[in-house]
């Protein structure tokens, strides 16, 4: 298949340029999801809050941890994990869900990806409220390192962009992939140090964590929330993934973008 790098690149840049439309789509989607509910999008926040409070208290006492350190750790980890997980899961359905548009209109498909990433950032913003409450209760310090949350969110979203593009295309062709990804992520949530710290794993397993890419995605969000700078290795891994993934996606997308309309 002849690669069309210009088409793939134009899709990305025109996608960014259509920010008014995807901004609106992401926003409307949030509004729509909770229409006629009383507390609206804060339902996700509330359920996360209940989850963290419930599990946090039980597990803190199970593992003899101080709830004042364990609760913020768990909450920050869940915030990071939720963002990464929903970006990946939504990526699988991004083109299948956009079938009506893809088959009717010529437009940059990446616009659909942007709208999903934007939507998940809005949800993250809502969830942040829970962390603020817990942080206040536990006395989590706000430091200069907290500002690193912003570049972390930017890096996460850019990574989500290429992942969703690849997954979206693959899932358009092979519908099973979505299920595979969803089940793997479910397991990954328990394997990745989110409910426990990597030190608790002991020296034998802790070194494997360095190879768990998801851990680094979570870490760059979790650590700034807790007022600490993320590990340098995490920045390297996440930035490296962005470069490698971005290049790989360009290679992939320039070959298969044209097929997407046929697969839907």
């Amino acid at each position: 298949m002849i690669p069309q790098y210009d088409v793939a690149l134009a899709d990305f840049t025109n996608g960014i340029r259509a920010w008014r439309l995807w901004g609106r789509l992401g926003w409307q989607e949030i509004k729509r999801r909770y229409r006629r509910t009383v507390i609206g999008p804060f339902w996700t926040t509330l359920s996360l809050g209940i989850f963290v409070a419930g599990l946090g208290v039980v597990w803190a006492s199970l593992w003899n941890q101080d709830p004042k350190t364990y609760l913020p750790f768990l909450c920050a980890g869940m915030l990071g994990w939720n963002l990464v997980q929903s970006n990946i899961n939504d990526g699988c359905t991004v083109f299948v869900g956009g079938e009506a548009f893809i088959k009717q209109l010529p437009f940059p498909y990446s616009m659909l990806v942007w709208s999903g990433v934007w939507r998940n950032l809005i949800v993250f913003g809502h969830n942040l409220c829970i962390f603020v409450l817990i942080g206040f209760y536990a006395g989590v310090p706000v430091t200069a390192a907290s500002l690193l949350l912003l570049p972390a969110l930017l890096l996460t979203s850019l990574n989500a962009l290429w992942m969703a593009t690849v997954l979206g295309v693959v899932c358009a062709r092979y519908r099973d992939v979505q299920q595979v990804v969803a089940s793997l992520l479910q397991v990954a949530m328990f394997v990745t140090p989110i409910f426990f710290t990597r030190d608790q794993l002991g020296p034998r397993f802790a070194r494997f964590v360095d190879f768990n890419v998801l851990y680094h995605y979570v870490d760059i969000i979790r650590s700034p929330l807790l007022g600490r700078a993320p590990e340098v290795w995490s920045w390297i891994v996440v930035t490296g993934m962005l470069c490698l993934g971005g290049a790989g996606t360009l290679w992939f997308y320039s070959r298969f973008r044209r097929r997407v309309a046929y697969w839907l």
Binding site: R20, L21, R24, L25, Q28, R32, R35, A100, F101, I102, K103, Q104, L105, P106, F107, R173, R175, R258, R259, A261, Y262, W263
Partner: protein, 250 residues
């Protein structure tokens, strides 16, 4: 300007059970459904076969043919939705396909919100949409309903809203599939005027339709598609005549 040269479009078929595929192949005549791939294990439907076409400013093309002849696929290629498997496609100018008249229409959003969303999908800027909104609202005669969720509308009201939004665009190249529905008969006259004006301000128009009246009224040239081939091309009357002859043949 639009140029198609020897365009071939194949639709792959996935997920059909093997026995079903074999049956499909057994029934297929004329190589319409074909196997491909190294082990002949893939099935594809050839929707367009060596279609060449040139549309320039002022052209109003009617596309006719029986069901499954490839009319909608041809429109899809003209829209840039389907990249052909082989052949050359050159599209110069902004294409406005109105296949689904209200892309992005959401039942839970209000009429006004949908005017903005659909308008943006159809390529209008926010300023254009704002400028057009009073005219759209007036045409729909929906009044205060526009402040309510579209969910509360009747089917005819949704159709009117969609039609009004779709016909407010300023297309360079306009593509229509089976015209545009406009709801009840009372609206037919006003809808026709609005559609005529939309076509009037488009530089190039292509319409696929079974409605000879529409084709005759709008088009200055036509193509007849049959089994993905161009069976006839030229003046509207000649092509429609050929089409009628072919249909009456046993």
């Amino acid at each position: 300007m639009i140029l198609l040269e020897d365009v071939i479009v194949d639709f792959p078929i996935y997920g059909s059970a093997k026995s079903f595929r074999t049956e499909l192949l057994g029934r297929a005549t004329g190589g319409f459904i074909r196997r491909e791939g190294r082990r002949q294990n893939r099935v594809a439907v050839r929707a367009l076969e060596s279609v060449s076409l040139k549309l320039s400013k002022g052209d109003r093309l009617g596309i006719v043919g029986p069901n499954g002849a490839g009319k909608s696929t041809l429109l899809g290629v003209l829209a840039g939705v389907y990249a052909p498997r082989a052949g050359r496609v050159v599209i110069e100018g902004r294409v406005s396909p109105l296949f689904n008249t209200a892309p992005g229409l959401d039942a839970d959003d209000t009429g006004y919100e949908n005017i903005v969303t659909c308008g943006m999908f159809l390529g209008m800027s926010r300023a254009e949409i704002e400028a057009n909104t009073p005219a759209i609202a007036e045409f729909t005669e929906l009044g205060d309903y526009l402040n309510l969720p579209v969910r509360t509308y009747s089917a005819g009201m949704i159709m009117r809203l969609a039609f009004a939004i779709a016909t407010s665009i300023n297309p360079e190249i306009l593509l229509l599939d089976e015209g545009l529905g406009a709801g009840d008969a009372r609206f037919a006259e006003r809808a026709k005027a609005r559609l005529d004006s939309l076509i009037e301000r488009s530089s190039i128009v292509a319409v696929a339709s079974h409605d000879e009246g529409l084709i005759r009224g709008v088009c200055n040239r036509a193509v007849l598609l049959d089994g993905g081939h161009v069976a006839a091309a030229g003046g509207v009357d000649d092509v429609l005549e050929t089409y009628r002859e072919r249909r009456s043949r046993p």
